[in-house]
Symmetry: C2
Subunit: 245 residues, 2 copies
């Protein structure tokens, strides 16, 4: 069933006007017609069956039917903070992280980020990543779209509400960490801040900051992973340790 | 350090002539000069320091020095058998699987494969995937290049030497499998055959075959993963369960 993302569904609404990209997709790509039934989700975990009532050039009006039980969300809220990678790699990270169940994504400007700031300084980058997250949520059947922030300096990750557990992925052999170390003995926390460096890894001052905030270094095996692959592998490791649902 | 793949190092050899793609890469891309030191690995787990002695248009001659301790290989031999995906997705699978430590990759023609046979019927496809595996091994510091087979019909995966454990990844909810089910209580086996379907999943006869061969269905959580992402997530789950080294 076609799934439509509609972030602003008023409480108790029965008739919803879909506009913009989603309306265009529905009317032009999917070629929805009056009477078709679609799924409509609000990106915060609610999903309905909805019937198409009206299709115009600018909008599609649907009537909400019964709630659809949404795909279950992880019991651990994971915020992924990742050093900015170049365009297609960052898209891939956002897509994989969404599919793997993160709650929020914070791209960070770290000392070893090599992508020039002009590539992400304006709002366009965050808007683009949000669209990638929406598309990924649609495809994986998730009813939640991770919160996507603009790029922030690394030091600002500590200003957000404190996660119960801070994990920082490090390269094989770095900091003397062995795979399957201390953090895996920690009972399932309510929330995790998962830190992933850019291709160049963490600088010494960043490692010191992570330590000062009680972060645990995590190794994902003896081989060197591309930064792009790290979030999916780290998330699989978390769910494998604490349960997938 | 630049790493050079050289599959045919004779026992006891001290002087090795590198030819073909690797020689071209060394002389033209890396611009190696006489006296430079490189790493040379045979794709089967051995690695040496080697000194460049001669650079010509066609070849680079090196003298092998001491053995370099290779990155430790997993204690479980995993063969990944995966339904053929389209070009760039299959490259991505081969790259990720290499980095995640598989021993062999067998692309399979299953009932729901949609890639036309002309795309993979000749030897070109397997040769290409082998090159992707070599490049991935270089980058991740691995000294083993997974054995890459040509595409075989699904039924032929059972003709290979029998793996101690057969795992088949299935979509959320399929076959009534819940994540973290029976296979995770199995002690670390010597070898695993990991079966991953194409985008369309397994056909009923294939599911029956898997069952007849004692295969366990594996679920990787409640969200629907793209087939391309499944191998990395499945491998992370295996290592997280049985240990990364």
């Amino acid at each position: 069933m076609t799934r439509v993302y509609m972030p602003d569904v008023a409480a108790g609404a029965t008739r919803v006007e879909v506009r913009g990209d989603e309306a265009h997709h529905l009317s032009r790509v999917v070629r929805a017609r009056v009477g078709d039934v679609v799924g409509l989700f609000d990106g915060r975990g609610r999903e309905w069956r909805a019937r198409v009532d009206e299709v115009t050039k600018q909008s599609v009006v649907v009537t909400l039917g019964e709630d659809v039980p949404a795909v279950v969300e992880p019991s651990v809220q994971v915020t992924l903070a990742i050093g900015v990678l170049k365009g297609d790699q960052m898209d891939s990270v956002v897509r994989d992280a969404t599919v793997m169940g993160v709650s929020a994504i914070v791209p960070i400007a770290t000392d070893h980020v090599t992508v020039p700031a002009r590539a992400w300084r304006d709002d366009g980058a965050a808007a683009r990543w949000h669209r990638v997250a929406v598309a990924a949520a649609k495809q994986c059947q998730r009813a939640v779209v991770p919160r996507m922030s603009a790029v922030v300096p690394f030091a600002e990750v500590w200003t957000a509400p404190r996660a119960a557990l801070v994990l920082a992925c490090v390269e094989p052999g770095a900091l003397g960490v062995t795979p399957g170390s201390a953090w895996q003995t920690i009972a399932r926390p309510a929330s995790v801040l998962l830190l992933v460096g850019p291709e160049g890894g963490w600088s010494d001052p960043e490692v010191a900051q992570i330590g000062a905030h009680g972060g645990h270094a995590v190794s994902l095996g003896p081989r060197t992973l591309r930064a792009e692959l790290v979030p999916a592998v780290a998330m699989a490791t978390l769910w494998s340790t604490w349960g997938w649902t």
